[in-house]
């Protein structure tokens, strides 16, 4: 029998460094360090400490799971870039898991998942189970004021997760493990921004050019 897949999962999409190590269906190590800043400095040393503690090495990993947001743009890029580097170095898949999927993990479906965004807004997604016993899937996320999202949830009677729920790296490893077991082609993780970059074309137009 092949060994149980060993999956390292992590997330820095909010004010934390969260990490977990899963062997088969068991979580064998976990860490959650709250921090406003310093994730870029802390993340990789934290992962090394966790692997060491579990008596595992990088080469033992079968996949890495990474939180792709929505969340803090810079925070998401920190984890996604590191995960893509690890995948490249180890020749294993990096599996992107959205904040919605991670937060819905382990809940009775359907649920409405809210992820906090700046200026009193949230990203809202309804997660449903297409078939009993299958993982959840989500509709198109919508960006709206928190009050509107709560009103919609109230009208539909859906339980609400968020907008301040903690993303757990254990949930990321669970979602990644399912994706790995499904055996389909896994695309490289990309940040899920859900908002365009703040940028506007220059307002001033140059004068008409005469021949």
């Amino acid at each position: 029998m092949p060994p149980e897949p060993l999956i390292l999962g992590f997330d820095t999409s909010a004010a934390h460094c969260a990490a977990a190590l899963r062997s088969g269906s068991d979580i064998i190590a976990r860490a959650h360090e709250p921090m406003q800043r310093g994730q870029a400095e802390r993340l990789v040393p934290l992962l090394e400490e966790m692997l060491n503690h579990a008596g595992a090495g990088w080469r033992d990993l079968h996949a890495v799971g990474v939180g792709i947001g929505p969340g803090n743009f810079t925070g998401v890029r920190i984890a996604v870039s590191a995960a893509r580097g690890m995948a490249l170095a180890l020749g294993i898949p990096a599996i992107g898991v959205s904040s919605f999927e991670a937060l819905a993990e382990g809940h009775v479906l359907p649920v409405m998942v809210l992820v906090g965004a700046p200026r009193g807004h949230v990203h809202a997604q309804i997660r449903t189970a297409p078939l009993a016993g299958k993982p959840s899937s989500g509709d198109s996320p919508r960006y709206m004021p928190l009050a509107d999202a709560l009103a919609q949830a109230g009208a539909t009677g859906l339980p609400v997760i968020g907008p301040d729920a903690l993303i757990r790296a254990e949930a990321i490893t669970a979602a990644a493990a399912r994706r790995l077991a499904a055996g389909r082609v896994i695309e490289r993780p990309k940040p899920l921004y859900l908002r365009a970059a703040d940028a506007a074309p220059p307002r001033e137009r140059p004068p008409p050019i005469l021949p």
Binding site: A40, E41, R42, L43, V44, P45, L47, E48, W58, F73, T74, R77, I78, A79, V80, S81, A82, A83, R84, G85, M86, A87, L88, A89, L90, R188, K190, P191, Y193, A197, D198, A199, A200, P201, P202, E204, P206, P207, P208, I209, L210, P211
Partner: protein, 365 residues
């Protein structure tokens, strides 16, 4: 003992995503085994300048592909490398962070040493990548984000003789292009237009020439171009094509005039140190401008100083210079831990007083 080093370099501090592999055996010339640069020109074109968030997004999704291509082109695997070097600043922090985290992911998982490189050191050490050059040499680093004179004394020790107190020349080229309705990036488009223009038609200021020292200023120059444009536009009810060319020529002439005179002064300070083999080198995107290159070469010839201008692909942002700086630093014993920080501000000369952004966050460069 001769020891061969092969290092992967990563660069993502502005709008070029780059990966390269350089090999160097002591007492031998370094070899660039591969150098991949993926630009983002089209992504920023509509905004009249580099948008940091757009740049950061692109780096995050492009850098690993660049690395794979660099490995493929050199027929190497990560196992063949001795270390990985990455730009850790100064620059647009989102992009720098993506590069640093990618490098840490690889360094940790492949168990390779990690070296954080100052982007400016990458430019400043490029002369030694392309030719046998001994320290100390004088360097003019002139690009979209920087303009400074440095005496390079070792791979880790630089003395700044002067620099811009406001805009970098590359920024001034971009702004000039924007106000004259020319495409971005402004360097090549203004240069092309200037070739058909008469520089004598407008007399633009030569800022700070009246003051001693090697400091420069370019923000007033772009304001002068704007004023001249408005006056001409009012006169003709639009900007005649020939006058636009003349504005470009006069602007470029002013920039090269200032750089030539300040280079003369920097050379005087450098030559006072009596270097054995005096060398002046340029680097940075603006060093690709032919008029600027020519006047700098003339100044060097006047003073009997060897002039080095690396090929254009090594003047603009690239990762071969980061790999090479990594090799130089690694030989000096430099190694960083996996808690390496990305730094938006990181002056190369840590001792001279700060020139730009000397506020709470410290000097930019």
């Amino acid at each position: 003992m001769t020891r061969s080093l092969t290092i992967l370099g990563l660069e993502s501090s502005c709008d070029d995503t780059a990966a390269a592999i350089v090999r160097h055996t002591e007492h031998d010339r370094p070899a660039i085994l591969s150098s991949v640069v993926t630009g983002q020109k089209d992504l920023h074109a509509a905004f009249g300048g580099v948008v940091p968030e757009i740049a950061a997004r692109a780096h995050t999704e492009k850098l690993d592909f660049c690395i794979e291509q660099a490995l493929h082109e050199s027929s190497l695997t990560l196992q063949d490398l001795d270390a990985i070097a990455v730009t850790a600043g100064p620059g647009l922090i989102g992009g720098v962070l993506s590069g640093v985290m990618m490098a840490k992911g690889i360094a940790a998982a492949a168990e390779l040493p990690l070296i954080g490189v100052n982007h400016l050191a990458g430019h400043a050490l490029t002369p030694r990548l392309v030719e046998p050059v001994e320290f100390p040499y004088l360097m003019l680093l002139v690009s979209g984000g920087h303009c400074q004179f440095l005496v390079a004394r070792s791979a880790e020790h630089f003395t700044r003789l002067g620099g811009t107190i406001d805009d970098a020349p590359g920024e001034a080229f971009d702004k000039t292009a924007r106000i004259l309705g020319l495409p971005q990036p402004g360097g090549p488009s203004v240069e092309q237009e200037a070739a058909r223009g008469d520089p004598a038609r407008f007399a633009f200021p030569r800022p700070l020439l009246d003051r001693p020292g090697c400091d420069l200023s370019f923000s007033g120059l772009k304001t002068s171009v704007l004023r001249a444009r408005d006056a001409e536009t009012a006169r003709y009810g639009g900007l005649p094509r020939q006058i636009r060319a003349d504005l470009c020529a006069a602007f470029q002439h002013a920039v090269s005039g200032v750089l030539a005179e300040k280079t003369r002064r920097a050379l005087r300070l450098y030559l006072a140190e009596k270097p054995e083999d005096p060398i002046f080198a340029v680097a940075g995107g603006v060093a690709a401008n032919k008029e600027i290159r020519t006047v700098l070469e003339i100044v060097c010839n006047e003073q009997g100083v060897r002039f080095i201008a690396p090929p254009q692909a090594l003047c603009t942002d690239n990762a071969a210079m980061i790999a090479w700086a990594g090799i130089e630093l690694f030989r000096l014993g430099r190694k960083d831990t996996l808690s390496l920080s990305a730094r938006p501000r990181w002056p190369l000369d840590q001792t001279s007083p700060a020139m730009l952004g000397s506020g709470r966050k410290g000097a930019k460069a």
